[in-house]
């Protein structure tokens, strides 16, 4: 089970809450202080993207964030339930209106995540997608001796 699991309605105002919770759990897990800004930004980008996918697809399900503390690494997995076309194109039923702008924002969010996080996996399928990001945990100085 995840160390902390967060589910929130797909609304922009809740993304900040997800950022704050993720940063707090990451700090407690031992992620380096210097990296916490990156954790905050990356989880915010992943959640913003998921919120956008749910809103554009008319999906009422919540966005799911798993914060997982392991021995040597800290993982965050942000899951959406938006059906993704296998080719990576737009799924049927998407509103055509602002398609270009939405795609641009989506790509910019992914660009920021891949620029920030060395270890990231993006997966997408018919029942939804996820972004999994991992950071190393710095052992407390006292335990190194």
């Amino acid at each position: 089970m995840a160390t902390v699991e967060l589910r929130f309605s797909a609304l922009p105002e809740h993304v900040r809450t997800a950022r704050l919770v993720a940063a707090a759990v990451a700090r407690r897990a031992g992620v380096d202080e210097a990296v916490l800004d990156e954790v905050r930004l990356a989880v915010g980008e992943a959640c913003s993207r998921a919120v956008g996918l749910h809103q554009n697809g008319g999906i009422s399900a919540p966005v799911k964030v798993l914060l997982i503390e392991e021995e040597k690494q800290f993982s965050i997995e942000v899951g959406d339930e938006a059906p993704h076309a296998a080719s990576g194109g737009r799924a049927p039923g998407d509103t055509p209106g602002d398609t270009d702008a939405e795609t641009e924002e989506d790509e910019m969010g992914l660009a920021v995540i891949s620029g920030l996080v060395d270890d990231v996996e993006v997966s997408a399928g018919e029942s939804g997608g996820s972004i999994r990001m991992r950071w190393p945990i710095v052992p407390p100085a006292g335990l190194l001796d």
């Binding site: 993304v15 900040r16 913003s48 910019m108 969010g109 620029g115």
Partner: protein, 113 residues
């Protein structure tokens, strides 16, 4: 922390001072402000980001949108930012090549290129 916005005119430049967090929730307010300024005829904008605590790609998108709008009127959009964590986001997205980024409002106002 919400977004705070204030504007000030210096000659033909309009300074937009932004404070707080620019994210998926607050970015629309910044977009409205920039659109309103351009619609009112302010085409040379200086966005002072010294009070910004957080910026994500939604905020970057709004700034790029603002730049497109002022360029349509042969205007300019300059940024003022000294914070490394904010500058990093511009660097990893390649946007340092798109926006002139200055260290002070005075420098941005004086810039003419």
């Amino acid at each position: 922390m919400d977004l705070s916005l204030s504007t000030e005119t210096m000659g033909d430049r309009t300074i937009v001072r932004v404070g707080g967090e620019i994210d998926v929730y607050t970015a629309p307010k910044l977009r409205e402000q920039l659109v309103e300024l351009v619609n009112d005829g302010s085409f040379h904008l200086v966005v002072d980001m010294e009070g910004v605590d957080f910026l994500d790609s939604t905020g970057l998108g709004v700034l790029v949108g603002g730049l497109k709008r002022v360029r349509a009127h042969e205007g300019s959009l300059r940024l003022v930012c000294n914070q490394e964590r904010i500058l990093k986001i511009f660097r990893i997205t390649g946007l340092t090549k798109v926006f002139p980024i200055h260290t002070s409002v005075e420098e941005a106002v004086a810039a003419t290129d």
